[in-house]
């Protein structure tokens, strides 16, 4: 009797968690699907909900992700390589490791404040795409480093030792053995980090403010908005139509994120099956 009760309790708690995910998705699709159209993707934001579209935020998100990826990939991978292959167990590598796990727990809005004071005002990049992308780079860097470290650790020691036995230097081993063998895991970590960057709102809001943008940015120094920020703006309007287009924007955002996450899972899966 008590056994059944306990089982029912824990079963219902996990079912409630999964059901709320389902309800959330249904709610968003139900509110937003009627606002989805080709025009919605190719129009700019407008004072009128029915004429509004997400071209400017889509372009802003694309700019942001490309620049963030461009900065994050080399920095993240080289930090991971340094920590796993070069640093050994010196004090510096210990400090860096503790520091990275601390950074992963810093709220994203704090990174926004850092970006505002440092990139926007101190360096003088203004409220530009590049200021946003550099901030986002610092935010997602711990994710890339940690996943790259894990994937570098899975490279079989025998492969490395064979290369060393042939007289290879550490860098040659890193370049020709470790990176090619861990690239799958590194890639999937990068994609997950980029999907985090796409979904983040707070730091971009701090840097960019709520701007009304009706042009596609043409340079990294232009002002910009991103998809989640546009969703936030629309969702905070009290009118039902704006909530409708907010949820249409959410549908687009979720489709992008689901596609990226599936890609990451596929790469990891393919990599695992290829290796063995």
């Amino acid at each position: 009797m008590k056994e059944r009760l306990f089982y029912l309790l824990i079963l219902s708690s996990i079912l409630i968690a999964l059901t709320s995910l389902l309800i959330l998705l249904i709610d968003v699709v139900f509110d937003g699907y009627s606002y989805l159209s080709w025009d919605f993707l190719t129009n700019y934001a407008s004072r009128k909900a029915e004429k509004s579209g997400i071209l400017a935020p889509l372009a802003g998100t694309l700019w942001l992700v490309i620049i963030t990826a461009f900065c994050t990939i080399p920095l993240g991978v080289s930090t991971a390589l340094y920590l796993e292959e070069f640093a050994g167990t010196n004090i510096l590598s210990k400090i860096i490791k503790i520091n990275i796990s601390n950074l992963a727990g810093v709220p994203s809005i704090i990174y926004g404040l850092l970006g505002l004071a440092f990139f926007t005002y101190f360096i003088g990049l203004g409220k530009s795409i590049i200021a946003g992308a550099l901030t986002m780079t610092l935010l997602v860097l711990p994710i890339v480093i940690i996943s790259a470290q894990e994937s570098i650790r899975t490279v079989q020691p025998s492969l490395k030792e064979a290369a060393y036995a042939l007289g290879a230097t550490k860098w040659e081993v890193a370049k020709k053995i470790i990176l090619p063998h861990s690239i799958g895991g590194i890639m999937s970590g990068i994609i997950l980090a980029m999907s985090r960057a796409i979904g983040e709102t707070a730091p971009i809001l701090i840097i960019s403010s709520l701007v009304f943008i009706t042009t596609v940015p043409s340079s990294p120094l232009d002002r910009f908005t991103v998809l989640p920020l546009q969703i936030y703006t629309w969702a905070s309007f009290p009118q039902d139509e704006f909530r409708g287009i907010a949820s249409a924007g959410i549908i687009v955002l979720l489709v992008i994120l689901i596609t990226m996450n599936s890609l990451a899972i596929y790469i990891r899966w393919k990599n695992q099956t290829d290796r063995y």
């Binding site: 708690s13 930090t79 727990g105």
Partner: protein, 299 residues
């Protein structure tokens, strides 16, 4: 020829190692940057507003005349939402962890865990929308006096978002409980739920406590849900059906407009940002320390 080649490879090696080290230092630079930026903008703020007023003042009205800078209402709002969220996450996360660790077959677990993880991957602005347009109307239907922007709705939805974190951390702690303890209890005739509640739960308690602390820390720093659903009115209230403002939502409110650099409003977001940074840092350190402690218990 051979000699030169070796020398070239050695120089290359030295250059590369230093480049890699440099990129490692960027992460340290980030931490220093955060502390420096928050600190250097807070110093002029505390030149204008005394620390005593900041800590003991009961009104937070930087955007109105007369400006008052008592941070208590923001802390009150922040912790009210965070504790509601952490309780929701604890109840459902712990239940999920019991199910996954003690009852689910390997096959069920391999399907359910990734599904649960999706909750953690949904952007927070989507949760904010969900709280405002779906959960709030339900709360208002049950308790009609509820204000549109309220702490309860934001807290519940934030809790749902944090379930996977609590579930994963607690499940790890439960899986770390040695099989022999469970089998000893079974051999004495214990039933499955008794093993779960009286053996696994107490043995994994430090991991569960850690997951609770870390989820509060996560909730304190959460921004978009509270900005959309919990309102923008700093209030010293314990009624979760009223509008409040959290530290993060205040930073958002100020940032939405074009606040001139150097104004007291601009400085104030860094001062409360510094407070937020230390709150989350302390909770993360405590949480991590507890995890570290339990990790050693059975080794």
């Amino acid at each position: 020829m051979q000699q030169r080649n070796i020398r070239r490879r050695k120089t290359e090696e030295i250059i590369v190692v230093n480049l890699l080290k440099l990129s490692g230092l960027i992460s340290i630079g980030t931490t220093i940057g955060i502390i420096y930026v928050l600190g250097s903008q807070s110093i002029p703020f505390f030149g204008t507003v005394s620390l005593k007023e900041f800590v003991t003042g009961l009104n937070w009205t930087p955007l109105f005349v007369p400006q008052e800078f008592g941070v208590m209402p923001l802390i009150n709002g922040t912790f009210m939402v965070a504790i509601i969220a952490a309780l929701v996450a604890l109840i459902f996360g712990l239940g999920s962890a019991f199910f996954l660790s003690e009852y689910a077959s390997r096959k069920v677990r391999s399907y359910v865990k990734p599904l649960l993880e999706i909750l953690a991957g949904i952007p927070t602005v989507v949760y904010g929308y969900f709280a405002l347009t779906f959960v709030t109307p339900i709360i208002q239907y049950i308790a009609p006096e509820t204000i549109i922007f309220n702490a309860l709705s934001a807290g519940i939805v934030m809790g749902i978002m944090i379930i996977p974190m609590v579930s994963t951390l607690s499940e790890d702690a439960m899986s770390a409980v040695p099989r022999s303890l469970r089998e000893a209890a079974y051999s004495l005739g214990a039933k499955k739920y008794q093993v779960a509640l009286r053996i696994v739960f107490p043995s994994a308690i430090s991991g569960i406590v850690a997951s609770f602390i870390l989820s509060i820390s996560r909730a304190i720093g959460e921004t978009m849900i509270v900005s959309l659903a919990a309102g923008g009115k700093p209030a010293l209230t314990l009624n979760p059906l009223e509008a409040i403002q959290t530290i993060t939502a205040y930073i958002v409110t100020v940032s939405q407009g074009e606040t001139p650099q150097g104004s007291i409003e601009y400085q104030s977001i860094f001062a409360v940002g510094l407070l937020l940074f230390f709150l989350t840092l302390i909770m993360n350190l405590i949480g991590r320390w507890v995890v570290y402690k339990y990790a050693q218990e059975y080794e």
